[in-house]
């Protein structure tokens, strides 16, 4: 089977799997929505300070909140088919537009965290695995156990205390310096400075996991015949690590990252509220406060789609790294 055909098959499979997932989320979410205390009309009335029963009824019929449940569900499905996630009353714009504004922020944060987690994990795991039992291995093992147990949002707050408040090196939050008109390298540096702490807080938990994984696969790789032969023939240390050892660790780590995408997204939601990062998580937080349940439901649907899309990408990356792995 050719490469492109395999990629196509993988994409098709992921696409087909997405349909029941979205169907279940929407149906589940829609009925959960009915449990929510108060509706958008209640909230708008509360914001305005007062409202007569007539105004409330008017608001409800304007938003279709007075229709029978099943026909509301039906119109939600119909809207979805047209890529519409409903309308946000508070922001006065379509939910899909609102989410699309925030989606790049979340994707940037997740991508930075994944890159950081994989590279730090590979580095730490290789150091640990090359000389198991020595003191660098022991120290890093303890550290990885610690990072494995620390809530990401708390480490984020502690990083703010240390790097932003004590040392004043990095900003405490936000996505970029407000009001500064930057371009080129300055723009990039400004973004990177704002991204550093949130990405690190999100990554540390996964660094711990990948370091342990890489350590185990380095130890295993070292005992294999072709690696021992290479050592015996006097292959240089760095070349050995690069060519023989890391290559065999990359496959499992990519598979693992693919499995963790949903978890990383969940972590990003909390981290964004810590660092006021302009992404979907921050939007979810605002939506909870203002009881914009349609926005929350939209975020849930888009999150699931994002996870499915990223899984599809990792499936492909994995099959490119190791042709023996059949595209699922």
């Amino acid at each position: 089977m050719t490469q492109s055909r395999r990629i196509f098959r993988s994409l098709l499979r992921n696409f087909l799997q997405a349909i029941p997932t979205i169907f279940i989320i929407v149906t589940l979410g829609f009925f959960m929505l009915q449990l929510a205390p108060g509706d958008a009309a209640d909230f708008m009335a509360a914001e305005a300070g007062s409202a007569t029963a007539e105004t409330m009824a008017q608001l409800r019929s304007a938003f279709g909140l007075d229709l029978p449940l099943l026909s509301q569900l039906g119109s939600y499905y119909a809207g979805l088919a047209n890529f519409s996630l409903g309308h946000s009353l508070r922001y006065g714009m379509p939910v899909s537009e609102l989410i699309m504004q925030r989606l790049p922020g979340t994707i940037t944060l997740m991508a930075a965290a994944i890159v950081l987690a994989v590279s730090l994990g590979l580095l730490a795991g290789t150091v640990m695995g090359m000389r198991p039992g020595r003191w660098p291995d022991r120290i890093l093992s303890v550290l990885s156990l610690l990072f494995y147990s620390v809530p990401a949002f708390w480490i984020g707050l502690m990083l703010i205390v240390f790097f932003s408040i004590r040392l004043g090196w990095l900003p405490t939050g936000g996505g970029y310096t407000l009001g500064a008109k930057l371009s080129g390298l300055d723009w990039f540096v400004d973004r990177a400075r704002h991204l550093a702490l949130p990405a690190l807080s999100l990554a540390l938990y996964y660094v711990a996991i990948y370091a342990r994984l890489v350590r185990a696969s380095v130890i295993e790789a070292k005992s294999q015949d072709h690696v021992r032969t290479a050592i015996a023939k006097g292959m240089g240390r760095y070349r050995l690590i690069r060519v023989h050892i890391l290559r065999s660790a990359l496959g499992p780590i990519t598979a693992m990252v693919g499995m963790h995408v949903a978890g990383i997204l969940g972590g990003a939601v909390v981290i964004e509220t810590v660092f006021s990062w302009p992404g979907m998580g921050r939007l979810a937080y605002e939506a909870i406060l203002s009881r914009e349940y349609t926005v929350l439901l939209g975020i849930l649907i888009v999150s699931a789609l994002l996870v499915i899309a990223m899984n599809a990408i990792f499936d492909i990356v994995q099959s490119l790294l190791d042709p023996r792995v059949a595209v699922r």
């Binding site: 997204l265 909390v270 509220t273 996870v307």
Partner: protein
């Protein structure tokens, strides 16, 4: 001993006895008392259990050590730890005793962690057992359902569920259980598939025991070690989820928990960082202890899967 008149009971006893367990327990050593002893001799388990019992004791004694409502104002606001002997961990922005909050918070966090895990484990075992034991289209359907569940970002789903149903102790517990059953269901399914193909299960079938008896008395005890290891890790992740939820303001508003303390302490992060650091420290220590316990149990009960087994 086949000359025993009551052959059914004898066969059944053998299916349950040590010989049956040897067939599948890689540890080989199947006397229950000795496996309990091996668990208790593992240093990781000892350290984990010691820390957990200390925190558990503090949680149980909270009403005695710091009587009264931890949410009520107890003294001057914003005292640093140690500034006044009556408030060893200081007071928060409103003058509430941080020590009282931490001790009472332990009760809430541990209660949520344990009950959500228990509920998730029960749901997961029920679903996974049906899939793994019966196989066929039931299995296909359940596996597909679990796969769908795994693509849904569970924390986002949890936030939505709790926000929709209104934050309370019950909804937080139900929500966490609902987003964590799939892990145990997958594990139960694979253990049940493996075990139901084994001789001692066939023997029990031949004897004529019904499905429910075989599931409960033959397979489940043998799947227990793997389930216990995963369960202990699940408590850790339930604690973390509860903390993140109440940090975001989605915890029970009438209860103090470690996460909600971090959430309110965060307002004073710039000047009074200890309000954030102290409850977070308790979370870290508890989760660390649970992870140590899980690692230790994994080493003893699950030697086949190796150390990476619990992470994946």
């Amino acid at each position: 001993m086949s000359h025993n008149p009551d052959i059914n009971d004898e066969l059944a006893r053998r299916a349950l006895g040590p010989g049956a367990a040897v067939a599948n327990a890689a540890a080989g050593n199947a006397e229950p008392s000795s496996s309990v002893r091996r668990v208790l001799l593992n240093p990781l388990v000892v350290v984990g259990l010691t820390i957990l019992s200390a925190i558990g004791a503090l949680a149980l004694l909270a009403p005695l050590l710091t009587p009264g409502d931890p949410l009520s104002i107890a003294g001057p606001a914003r005292l640093w730890p140690g500034e006044i002997a009556a408030f060893p961990l200081g007071t928060d922005a409103l003058g509430r005793n941080v020590l009282a909050g931490v001790l009472h918070g332990a009760r809430a966090s541990i209660f949520v962690g344990l009950s959500a895990t228990l509920l998730g484990v029960v749901i997961g075992i029920l679903i996974g057992a049906v899939a793994g034991y019966f196989g066929g289209w039931v299995d296909d359907l359940i596996v597909r359902f679990i796969e769908i569940f795994q693509t849904i970002p569970s924390f986002v789903l949890l936030v939505v569920l709790v926000a929709f149903s209104g934050p309370s102790l019950l909804t937080v517990i139900l929500g966490i259980a609902l987003v964590s059953w799939d892990v145990i269901a997958r594990l139960t399914r694979s253990e049940f598939r493996r075990l139901s193909a084994q001789d001692f299960v066939s023997a029990a079938r031949v004897v004529g025991y019904d499905h429910s008896h075989i599931i409960r008395h033959e397979i489940l005890p043998n799947a227990a070690p793997a389930l216990i290891v995963t369960g202990s890790i699940m408590v850790a992740s339930a604690l973390l989820m509860e903390a993140a939820l109440s940090f975001m303001g989605l915890g029970d508003p009438n209860l103090v928990s470690w996460g909600s303390m971090i959430g309110s302490g965060r307002e004073l992060l710039r000047t009074h960082w200890y309000l954030t650091a102290i409850p977070g420290g308790f979370i870290v220590v508890s989760v660390l202890a649970l992870n140590l316990l899980g690692d230790g149990l994994n080493d003893v009960l699950n030697p086949r899967h190796g150390a990476a087994g619990q992470i994946s």
